[in-house]
Structure formats: C-alpha cells, structure tokens
C-alpha cells in the first residue's frame, strides 16, 4: 500500500483544479510508493473554499495560509496563488519543513527567487515548480531524442506562445480571474505567464542562454481595474519577443503575446540540428514532428509522430496506441515524477533552483526591453 503524502493546497483557481485532479488520479495510472491525501485547501473566501473542498475531496479548509503551512498534518504545500504571494508562502512553508510544489513562474523576480531557493535548500525540503509542459509525452520524447545526440550540432531554437484572449479593450484587469493582467499580482504579463514556459523548456532541451535583446509592448494602455473599479494604467507586457544566444552556440528566437488573433494557446517549439530537427505545438500536443536527414533522400520528410504508444514517455500508463491524452495529464505526470523522486530521495526537476534560471532570463528580457540593449543573463 502506498504511503500517504498529505497535501495542503493554497489557491483554488485554474491551477488549483489541475493540481487537485492530478493528485486524485495519479495512483490509478502510476504504480507509486506514495499516495497524495487531499488534507486541506486554503483560500480567503470561506464559502467558496468549502465548495471547492467538497468538489475535489479535500478533508478540511483554511482561510489563512499561515495556518495551513503550520499544520502538523500537512507534508507538502502546493502554492497556486498569484505570483506576488509565492515568496512569502514558500519561505513560511520551508521554515515549517514542508515540501513545496510551487506554480510557475517561481517568483516575481530573480531576487525573490533566490531567497526562495535558499529557503528550501536551507530547510532541505523537496521542491519543484509546475512547468508542466516538460511532461507532455511528445516534449519528454523530444528531450530523450536530444539527449542521444542524434541532432548533432544545434543551430537554432525557436519558440512562441500565442494567445488572443485579451484583445478586447473591454476586458478589465485584476481580481480573482484576471490577476494575470494586473502587474501588482503577476509581476509581468506574457513574459512570466507564457514566455517562462518557453524558456523553461528551452533551457531543459538546449542548455543555458547567455544574452538577449528584447522588446515588449502594451497594446491596450488602460483597463478598468476590478479591485478599484477605476480605469487604470496597464502595467503588464501584452507581448514580448527576444533574440538570444545559447551557450552551445545556437541562436534563439522567442515570442509571446495575447494579441495573436486565431491562436488560443499555441505554444510551439522547434530545434534545428546538423542532422535532425524537432517541432512541437500545444494545439496538437500528442504529436511530435521529427525530421531525420539520415532517412533515404527520396522519401525524406517531416514525420508526424502520434505519441500514444507504450514505448513513448508516460504512455504505457494510459490507453492504447492511437488514443490521445490531453492537457491535464501533464500535471498527473509531474505528480508521478515528484512522488517517484521522493521515494528515490532525488530532486524532481525543475526544482526551485532550476526554475530560478528561467527567472533570471525573464529578468534579463524585461531589462533589455526597458533599456533597449543586449543584456547578459
């Protein structure tokens, strides 16, 4: 019988749902030494948090996160709050010896992130950041292939994350559902929300980034603020793009926006090596595009690999070849990996320290965009 791992969740928004679902499902599909127990969920609105607890099966609720992180019956704290609370909660949780699973981005900035790293490292608690797209089977497969060295020397890496949900000027900023548009809560706009995903995957697949030149734009300059009721200046970046150099000598190109009409959540990545190339996109996340120059010339072409076979990452836990899984499974995979790492007494990447690297790049990007100069990471 698996041992219980008692979870305390803080925040019950979109990510609260995906994490709760992952905890509930993981043991049905993975053979693990631990089983998450949904011990408590915390949010300020008592009524709503009770409803959430009832819906997802949490045993208890809290309305003050400080109480939750101090509870003796909690092993791991899952931080799903807006970004501006990550640091404070993480520091308190670490101080209380809790393991921490923190939503991405790690922090509002590098300085905060560094504090968080030091806190978990000092406390010696297992920690991970929910950069869930690493665990899309097709992306994990990309990592496996890259690690074989088959691609040869890498020349190019490009990624973008295109959305279109904030085009309307009538959309307000701030508050429960829209804190991502509020700079005070989110820290940045698409840079921390979307590009951070692209960067995390990129450095995992292609190594570190050394310097960047970036531009950002805020297309809608003012929006009504849900917390104040007034029209206020928009502080976030609506779009961000940057060029960069990777330490391995390859060139990088990144772009993100919430103003790309027609794209709901189009995260795409491509890596071009001397011998082979890989492409992937989130809108058809179960497919990997693979080009191998060693294929016979007359029938050489991009292969569309339907990543649903038992010998492909994570897939033997699911259904049968041809039957795709979806978005939520990436979180289940991360929980499975976290629990396996725990059993093996190993870190579950990306750790806080790994995620800090993404934070540094985001900071360099925003700095470059602000001062219009190439900036070292």
């Amino acid at each position: 019988m698996p041992k219980p791992l008692r979870i305390g969740l803080i925040g019950y928004g979109f990510m609260g749902r995906t994490h709760s679902n992952a905890y509930r499902q993981v043991n049905q599909f993975f053979d693990l030494e631990y089983r998450p127990e949904l011990k408590a969920v915390c949010a300020r609105d008592a009524e709503k948090v009770k409803a959430f607890a009832s819906q997802w099966g949490y045993e208890s609720v809290e309305t003050d996160w400080r109480k939750l992180v101090e509870r003796q019956d909690i092993d791991a704290v899952d931080i799903c709050t807006p970004n501006n609370l990550h640091k404070e909660i993480a520091l308190a949780a670490a101080a209380n010896g809790k393991m921490i699973l923190c939503e991405k981005p790690l922090s509002m900035n590098t300085a905060e992130g560094e504090e968080m790293c030091q806190a978990v490292e000092k406390a010696g608690v297992p920690n991970t950041v929910w950069y869930n797209y690493r665990r899309v089977p097709a992306v994990t497969l990309a990592k496996q292939i890259i690690d074989t060295g088959k691609l040869g020397r890498i020349f190019h890496y490009r990624a973008n994350f295109l959305q279109d949900w904030t085009i309307s000027a009538d959309l307000p900023q701030g508050g429960t559902a829209l804190w991502r548009l509020d700079a005070a809560a989110a820290g940045s706009g698409v840079t921390g929300d979307l590009l951070a995903h692209c960067i995390d995957t990129a450095i995992w697949l292609n190594g570190s980034i050394t310097n960047v030149t970036a531009m950002t734009e805020t297309f809608i300059k003012e929006r009504k603020h849900n917390l104040t009721g007034k029209v206020e200046k928009v502080g976030i970046d609506d779009a961000c793009a940057f060029l960069c150099h990777f330490a391995n000598g390859s060139l990088g190109l990144f772009e993100s926006t919430r103003y790309a009409r027609g794209h709901k959540a189009l995260y795409t990545l491509e890596i071009n090596g001397e011998n082979a190339s890989i492409k992937w996109d989130l809108h058809d996340l179960h497919r990997l595009q693979w080009f191998d120059h060693k294929d016979e010339g007359i029938v050489r072409g991009w292969r569309s690999v339907h990543v649903t076979d038992g010998d492909q990452p994570y897939m033997k836990q699911w259904w049968v070849p041809g039957l795709q899984i979806g978005y939520e499974h990436t979180f289940i995979h991360q929980v499975a990996d976290f629990l396996q790492a725990l059993a093996a007494n190993k870190p579950c990447p990306p750790t806080f320290r790994d995620a800090l690297e993404t934070q540094k790049i985001c900071d360099a990007v925003l700095k470059s965009a602000a001062n219009h100069q190439w900036t070292n990471v």
Copy 2:
C-alpha cells in the same frame, strides 16, 4: 449532495479501466444529482480482480457475475465482458431490476440484441450502450450543426476505422487480451469491433441505412489459439468494407481493417451536404473540419476548428480554450449524460434499442459479404 448510484462492473479489461475512470472522475467535472459508487467488480480470476478493485477503489469483488447481478446493494450493472456474454448477463441483470450500461457492440447478432432489448424494456430499467465516440466534443458538435439543417440536402457519408495492430502472423488469437481475434468470443472481427462505432455515429448523424453491399477478408487464415495452444482457423473478418444507401437518399461508404499499416486507430468520418461539409478523425479528436459554402468565395476553405471552447459541447466543464482533452473523456461524458438522463427520467442514447439498429446493419453487412449480394437491413 449527489445521491449514490451503486455500480457493479463485470470485466476489468481495457474497457473496465475506461469506465472505472469515468465513474471516479465525473462528479469532479459535472454538477450532477447522482454520484457513482464503485460497489463491486467481478471477474473470474480472484487475485487479479482484487488488485483491480484496489487500484480503482471498488469496495468489493465477485468472481461469479450471477452473484453480482443479484446483489441488493447494486443499482447498475456495467457489462465489460467479451461480446459472447453480453446477452446472458443483460438478461439476468434486467431480471434483477438493475440498470445496465453495456459495452458495444450490444450483442453477437440481431437476435440476441432483440432479446436484450425486450428484457430491459420489460424490466423498465434504464439502459445505455457505450458507443463513446458520440461524446467526443467535436462529434457532438457535428451532430448539433447537422441538426440545424445548415448542411442542406445530404449527398454523401463516408467513414473508416483503420488500425494496423494485427498484421503480424505471430500474433495469437483468443484469451484475455486477444479475445477480439477469437470469433467465438467476439462474434465478428472488425465489423463488430470497429465498424459498429462508425455505423452508430453514422445513423445518429445521418439517419437509417436501408441496404448494403459488402466484402470481408481474413488476411491471416490461421493463428495459434491462446486457449487451446493449437494453430486454428481464424474465424473473424480482418477487414470489412461496404457501400450503402441511407434513407435520406445519400450514399454511404464504410471501411474498417486492422491491416492498414501506419494507422493506429484512425476513425474518420465525413458528411457532404448541399451547403456545407464536416470531417473528423480520431487521431486528432479535438478538431472538427468544417466547410461552409456560404463563406465569401475568395476566402472559402475548410476550417480546422479546435474544439476546446466553453461554448462547444462538454468543454466548459474542462480547462480553457486551446487546451485539449483526450480519449478517456468520452466515457466521462457518457456517464455524465447517463446520470443526467436518470435524474430527468429520460433515456440515455444510444439505448439498447438504438444500438440494435447498428446490430442489424452489422448483420446485413456480414450477410452481404457472405452471399455477395445487396442486402436490405
């Protein structure tokens, strides 16, 4: 609080997993008056059935399905056995006043199916058949669009279901995992296993089929039988194709095979109307292809609709636009619909009677293939 609906599951194979998962998840995502309780699971192998019960949270096990269908603490029997047991179990379950959720195809043939229909109708018990592909959001959306009449007069319907997993002559037939290759257990090969899906969707979307001309083939004539250990004649159809007329005057073309190298589970359908056309395929199940002749000429083209928005069928229960769901969700949707129908005291299609229509067409197809003649349904 939702009322419990106590489930007794018979069979724990691939479908046993998908159904169990659906029962476990449905109330997290749908607001319902009932909540499935996993009361008992039944299979002949006591050890394996216990492991399954433990994995999925069933409270108890049985090794004799007759005991299960007689238990007073069971409200609904879910039949996931090989096809040759459907009838006997269904009759017993109905006699005991149980609701029945039966895996597809309904039965070995029309005669058995008719008995089953009469049994559930006489007993007055809610019943449904797991033709899960009706509940792929893109397919449900197709149904909604067709029901508006936007397509105008229908000219063509075509569907195929292509797999490649039985090409190797070394694959044996029969037994736990491979009963689908054993005519005694399955009744037919691809006709009942795959074409039945195509037919169920087709008659739902395009109305009844009046007559057919068909051909079947068994490419590998003999395979080792897992139950006897001997090489035996293969009794199933490896491939089946048929032409047909629909009652609405449109022409139909159907094909299924397990020998289409390169296709894992490629169920595709297309319907061509006077004004518009629709296409869908299971390998990218979250997309619907839509062509509307009323679009302005110079920018007219097939639209690739990413069915992940809240106003599209079932999707407001899941994540956010752009984030796809997968195969298993079709079963969750069917449970949700079953529970809603139960609360509303309405049938949940396809009922046994609905599914009997598919059985009749399968029988006509197999008869036509055997005697090489056009055959009325």
Copy 3:
C-alpha cells in the same frame, strides 16, 4: 538539334490548352531527340479555332477533323474531343498511319476501345492515352517505391476523386463547356471522367482488378440541355463508388462524385502494405505521405515528403528543392516520356491497350451498378 514531330490537335477545350502548353514547353526543360511542331489545330468553329491557333502558335487550322488526319504534314494526332468522337477519329488516324495521343478515357466503352486498340496495333503506330496523373512526380515516386517491393504484401488500396462543381440544379448539361454532363457525349459521368483516373493509377500501382460491386447515383435528375434548350433527363452518373478485389489479394475501395461540397478536385489514393504505406492527394500534389514501419518505433510516423528534389522523378528538370510545380507539368512530363519512347522505339504507357483495361473496369462498374451484382472484369 531535335527532329520535329508535327502535331495535329483536334479539339481546343481545357485539354487542348494543357496539351498545347506541354508541347510548347517540353524542350525547354527536357533534353530530347524530338521537338513538337504545332502544325495544325482542328475544331468546327472556324473563328474560335483561328483564335486558339494564334494564341498557342499553331501554324494552320482545320474545321473538319477528317482533313486533318489525312494531312501529309502531320505526324501525330492528338484527340481532345468529347469521348463520343474518340473512336472514329482514332480509327481514321491509325488508317492514315498517324501516331495518336488520345485524351482519357480511351473510349465510350470496352467494345469501342477494343476496336481502337486493334486499329493502332494493326497500323503499328505509337499511341498513348493522357492519364496525366501517373506523371505527377509524387505519384511516379510512389510507383518507384512500390516497385522496390518495400511495401511487402499489399492489403488495401483506396482512392477517391471528389468534386463539388455540379451541385447547383441550375447548371445546364451539354454543349462546349459542359459536354461532360451529357451522357451522349461523355458516355458516363464521374465514372469515365474521374474514376477512370483513379483506376488507371491503381492498376499501374497495384495490378489488375478482378471483380467489383458498385453503386451509382444521379442526384439531379433533370437539367436544361444546352443543345436542345429543353429540360432533359440527366443520363450520367453524378456519383459512383465500388468495392473490388485486386489480383494480388488486396481489397479496393473507390469513390467519385461531383457532389462533395468543399472538394474542388480532391483525387486521393492510399496503399497499405505489410511494411509500409503511401498516401497522396491532388490538392497538394507535390507532397507524398510515406509511412515505414521499419523506422525506429518511438519516432515512427507518416512522413510528408516535399517532392521537389533533383533525385525525385522529373524534378531535376525544374527548379530547386522546396519550389513546387503544379498541375500542367504532368502533361509536359507525358510529352517528354512520349518523345523519349519514340526515340527509343518503345511504347509510352499507358498505351491504348493499357487504357483498355481501365475501360473494362469502368464497364464492369457501370454494369454492377445497373444490375446490383458483383461483376467480373
């Protein structure tokens, strides 16, 4: 310097344009022993034929095809008339010792075709039929691959040719532009016009067809006739589908229609072998889809081969990799092959005799559709 091959073209419709263009261009791109000379073009309307001759560079015109086929300064007669004139012209041309390039389908029926074959064979004149899709580079590449035996045992062949240009009931039949809708001129509808293409390619790629079961439909029963001015019964098939067996044991599925809303000229074909599969479609004719089961499992998938490289059929004559050619080039390739065959004193397939095989299958298909029975070819 290439020797002249003096061409006499009969008919100046759509095909007259494609052939004339091919004659004019072929020597720019292929190094050949012969060079077509556009000697004469013939049609009944003197004014229009003069304009065509002027446009395309024909030296002279005729208004009576009998005169053209008797001219001493003509080496080869190109028949681009409606189908009902093919036989008479071919017989006269052969009797005059002319080479013949005949538009497809060869004839109105097998009996006519047999007469034509005997005429050219008796006269010993080079002859070919313009089944141009054999010379799409991607299709020729498919043939090359299949001929290597890489696919192993063949299980399935399927093809369709879907159009939507006759859906409007207001479209008349008959006359210059619309003789394809007039049974008296065309012989049949989609069977001879579209399926004949599918069949020609199929027997070239997969060998002979032994028997068929077919259905046809005429959706619009009456249309105004351009020649009589009256509303008349439509004699052609608007749609035709058939199942068949190939001599190599594989199963065939064919469909054609002019009522598939959204498809302009979608000729698709697919062949599934034990080890590999191939797909192609005319809407993106420069691509071949290739699936090789011998590829490593985790990166196995359909390859989209962009057939524009110099080592792929015909392509070294054109531009550079990545730059596609189009529809008209298939005719240029056929002229090049015809001229090369002439220089080598070899037949240029498909000859009349090759094309007669397609005619026999079309006849069997129409017969099967009429009497609702499986019919041997």
Copy 4:
C-alpha cells in the same frame, strides 16, 4: 496583335531560366498589348551562353554586357547577374534609355541602390525588381484582404525563410553556382538573399519598418573558395534574425537561415490583426490560411484556402479550381503585370524606389547585428 518588347537578358543562372520561361509563356495565358521578344542573352562564357540561347530561343548572344545595353534592338534589360554587378549594369542601361527588370536584392547596399534609383528616375525608364513572391496568388490575395481593412488594428507580423542547403562544411563558396556564399559577389548572406524577400512582402502588406535589433551568425567560418582554390574566411551571414517596430505600431519578428535542417525553402509569413489573421508558407504556396474572428464561435477556425479559383488573383488565367500552379508562375505574373503597367504607362511595383526601402532595412539589420544596438531604418 501584341507589340514586341525586345528583351536583353544578362546572366543565365537559376534566375535567367525563370525569367526566360516567364517571357516565353506570358502571352499564352495573359491577354496583353506587348509580347516579349527574346532578343539577346549575355554572359562571359561564349559556349554556354550559346547553348542557353538555343535552349530558350534567344535570337543572339553577347559576352560583354556593355555591348548588350547599348544595342539599339533592345528595349528592356533584365539583370540576372550576381548582386555586385547590378549597379553598374543598371546605370549603363538607364543611360542608354533601356527599361530595366532587375533581380533582387536591388543592390549591394543602400548607397548603390540610391544611385540606381536616381539613374532610372533621371532616364525616365520603366523599372521593376523581381521580388516574385508578391505575385504568388495566395500572397496577392492576402494583400487584397488586408487592403479592405478587415483585419482591423494590426498587432503582429512575423516571417521567416528557412533553408538547410549549406549545412555541410564541405560546400565551397564562390563561382557560378555558389556566388551566393561569397560576400564579394553577394554583399551579404541570407539577409540579402532571403530576408530581403520577407521584408519586401512585409512592407508591402504592413507598411514601413522604423527600427530593428538584429543578430547574425556565420556557423561555418571557413570554406574553400571556388575562384581561388583556397580555404578562405566566409564573409556572409549564415543566419540572421531581427525584431522590429512597424510604423503602424505592430511588432515584427523576422528570421532567416540556411541551417534549419528539414526546411528546403520555407518562407512563411503571418499577420495578426484585431479581427482576423493570415498565414502563408512557400512550401504549399497555393494555400492561404485565414482566420476570421467574426465567424460564428462554435465553428470558428483557421481556414485553409486552396487558392485556385477564377476569382482569386491571377487564377482565371490558368486551369480550373483545385488544380494548383507552382513557383515559376510568380515570374510569369510579374512579366504580365510589367507589360500591363507599360501599356497603361504606370509603374510596376516594386520599382527600384520601392525596393530601395528593403535595402535600407537590410542595411539597418546588418548594422544592428554588427554593433549590437537598436538601429533606426
């Protein structure tokens, strides 16, 4: 009868072929007041230029371009030489009152280009630059749509041009076929060769670019030089990417490389507006991707428009719906437009002056890449 326009072609490489073909074909497909006469072709190698003349039907040859531009029987000079000769030839041709059709890029740099503009403007001779991708029907269609204002406010423009043909370190630089790798002949690498195309289309579709930040890379630092026989430093940029601002407030992202394994000539562009978006790529050049937010929500999606209908740009001159044209047709279209402009006494864009704008941007890009700073155009 069309009037002759006597062409003198200088250079007979890849572009010499595409232009010659365009001159030969244009009057077969377009009804024009002028007809190109292939008067003379010029290149240094007397034997090869004679063979080319014979192949393409040029009446005479020259081996000194100065003679050609002075000939009285030449109306228009077509410059297909390496870039380093454009200016000198153009100045001489203008001085002799010749019309000029110049291959892209216009010049080695802005200064040269400005001289060329002043020369043709002073001489008052018609002039155009062969940025042929403007005349891909799908791209022209994009322009038409954008000009209606349907897209609303523009937020993003992105384009890339990805090739992989120079990855091998064994490929030499310089000489007839490989002058594009020789900085002395080409001026720059991918910037002038590939990005120039992307920029030309971009400013045509989206207006002027105000400032850029760029990076370039030369992956293979030394290659054997075909002219000297020695291994020499590579002076060109193998890859170039830049971010920019358009005058209309939208953000731009451009990338080009010859090291993107798997892409032969993948020129893609995308423009995102408030209400609609457009995408196109050269590998399937006959398709336009169109997204219209005004489409009904549940069936909203990217449309794949098969640009082969008579009401789409240029296509009524060609075949019938569904039948695609290819790369070479873009040159035919440009000749047709040039001849029509000539008849109407209007400029044929892009003129030298239009193309100078692209030159300025290329210069700014290269300058920014060199000094690592944002640079105004």
